[in-house]
Symmetry: C2
Subunit: 392 residues, 2 copies
């Protein structure tokens, strides 16, 4: 086990009716709130009215800024920063999924930053301060409700950068599984693939003597595997949503990756798909993850046997390791199929014409020196190209 530093301050207020408590929960922390959200869905479902009533009942004044889009944009972040400064906002309340939360985090740190907040994403330099961010979650997927991470797209340069700081971990996140009942099935499936990937990226490692986090990763993955298909049958299954919602937060609050070298190659390879073809992040991950497994498993056969047996329920028997692993990967692909997720890049509308460009961008060699991605196996641009080819 490696040395680690675990910090999970985000308070998770979970269950039926909790969205009505947001005003009372924020009262000790906020004098004036920025209510930050996306499009009209929270108005259609009545969630907007519930949150506004709760803030009013608690006597918390607020200003609002809607219009967050998937792959949230820098221009709206700039607008939010100006608004917070002008109105002396001291807490940002995101009502939405990962995009609204990530945009809120960008505003939260931008308020205290003298230059363009994009510099922070560009340089990765540590921040001293940020406004507190609170969340009413409407999509379980990104795990941003418990993490200190934010991803923002700069429309002018076409770049999409992530940034992380312990100061960006939300103060309070409210999660009522009933709010997920209206999600379309493709969004359910994409969210599930995303949270599974957050665990895979931590789970697959060459670090030894990590029994506890191995077992916690496997436990969380099995819970997702058994509950997610129930949502494809019935998107109003509260019990299944409660497991998936809770699992999505545990997947990304940091705990499962402690003491382990992590990987994150699939996320890096997927970001290039999203950037070039605007595919949904979860769908891209569902295609790339099995391809990555097929390509890298030889570097740590025992880790992938463990995955096949402990996560996918493959029987070890007196079998060849490669055989056990192959069945594990097959079962994972079957699961994605049950979730109506794509199996190939072709299904995502991606042909081979830009594979090399994406592989070179992913490993930075497109812009200059090569930077290898991944942990279990360090991947250069040719490795990434091979994985795109397997996934085609």
């Amino acid at each position: 086990m490696l040395n680690f530093d675990l910090y999970m301050p985000a308070r998770i207020v979970f269950g039926r009716g909790t969205q009505s408590r947001i005003g009372e929960l924020l009262k000790p922390h906020a004098k004036k709130v920025l209510l930050h959200y996306g499009g009209g869905s929270i108005k259609r479902t009545g969630l907007y009215d519930t949150v506004v009533k709760s803030l009013n009942d608690a006597g918390i004044p607020f200003v609002e800024l809607g219009g967050v889009v998937p792959n949230p944009r820098l221009s709206l972040v700039h607008e939010g920063i100006e608004l917070c400064r002008r109105e002396n906002v001291d807490l940002i309340l995101a009502v939405g999924g990962g995009s609204a939360i990530d945009s809120s985090k960008a505003i939260a740190m931008g308020v205290y930053y003298d230059g363009d907040v994009w510099d922070i994403y560009d340089t990765g330099k540590p921040i001293e301060k940020a406004l507190p961010v609170a969340v009413v979650l409407t999509i379980p997927a990104a795990g941003s409700e418990s993490s200190g991470d934010t991803v923002i797209s700069n429309e002018e340069t076409g770049r999409k950068y992530g940034y992380g700081s312990p100061k960006l971990r939300p103060l309070i996140s409210v999660m009522n599984p009933e709010l997920f009942f209206t999600l379309p099935k493709n969004q359910i499936a994409n969210g599930v693939a995303d949270m599974m990937s957050h665990i895979f990226e931590r789970y697959f490692t060459n670090t030894t003597h990590v029994d506890l986090t191995d077992a916690l990763c496997e436990a969380t993955l099995r819970t997702i595997l058994s509950n997610a298909p129930r949502l494809m049958e019935d998107p109003q299954d509260y019990d299944a949503w409660a497991e998936i919602g809770f699992a999505g937060t545990v997947a990304h609050n940091g705990l499962l990756g402690m003491g382990r070298e992590q990987d994150w190659a699939c996320h890096a390879m997927e970001h290039e798909l999203s950037a070039a073809y605007d595919v949904a992040h979860g769908a891209g991950l569902a295609v790339l993850t099995p391809a990555w497994m097929k390509y890298v498993h030889k570097d740590n056969l025992d880790m992938f046997v463990q995955f096949a047996v402990n996560v996918m329920g493959v029987s070890k028997g007196f079998r060849d390791k490669e055989d056990v692993i192959r069945e594990g990967i097959d079962r994972l692909q079957n699961f994605y199929r049950v979730m109506s997720l794509p199996q190939t890049l072709t299904e995502l509308g991606i042909d081979e014409s830009r594979h090399e460009e994406m592989a070179k961008k992913c490993t930075e060699i497109y812009f200059g020196e090569e930077y290898k991605v991944g942990g279990l196996k360090k991947l250069g641009w040719q490795d990434v190209l091979n994985i795109y080819t397997i996934a085609k």
Copy 2:
């Protein structure tokens, strides 16, 4: 799954050499520290010198108060409160195990309380404020390094009360498994029994649809079961200690009990043993837990089959449920035996003479109205007496 409120703010800084970083870690949070500890062991091992050097290097002035004993006492807490007020201490650093941490938490809230801090334990009323508490952990067992709980003994009245508040969760806990190398084997075993019980008390429940926390509890228990015996062979096994230390914190930081009705009958029954006979908490739990299982399992056969199969590795086969459960409990008792833990109250030097008195104190009927303990099965004083009899 029940609604829940998860709050785990304690930052865990884990691994080799981390105790030397305590000054640097506390620097942003403290102007003057109370260093609070037990007897001479931290001086013998050199840990005291390391911590003092680290505080000095960081330029953090401190005062100190040693003398914490197991079952930490109210009189020393009073002394600590006076000292903190007089010296304008703004953070308490516990160097030790559960007793030093619990005593620190009592002082931390007492500083801001106008009357006798014992009132808070006596009435259970919520607190508004407490000084921050930090920890350098020397014994993994109580989980106090991540919890908001504290247990204090009042020497004058002979009562031992617990109290909990989110405001008492430590700010930072430093855990280096190397610091556990010098623990005597009985203390290792008692600590392991204690952390397992923290999970059992959360795990055994009648609440349904709690797949994720079921699986996380089972994962953590299995990790403890496989690593603890290694420490009885070699108390300097870093890898095994890392798993046990991390598991002890996960066991009690709150996560594993979210959304579930909890039990805590074994803890309540054990407190009476400790109060009447001054037995070690973990040893008492190792005796009572299997007896409790034998007595209550009929109330939820499926939960105990799940325990036998998923935790103790019993094969389900085409067997009678009672048979599977019996093997599960047998295996647990075997594990405690491997850990050189006692199997009966008699081995703890407890005869039947005070069973009834303890059962009546445990359920409060000794003092007035009966208060049933437990969750999976509510136990009156006669139930508790029956369990003591099974354990005799």
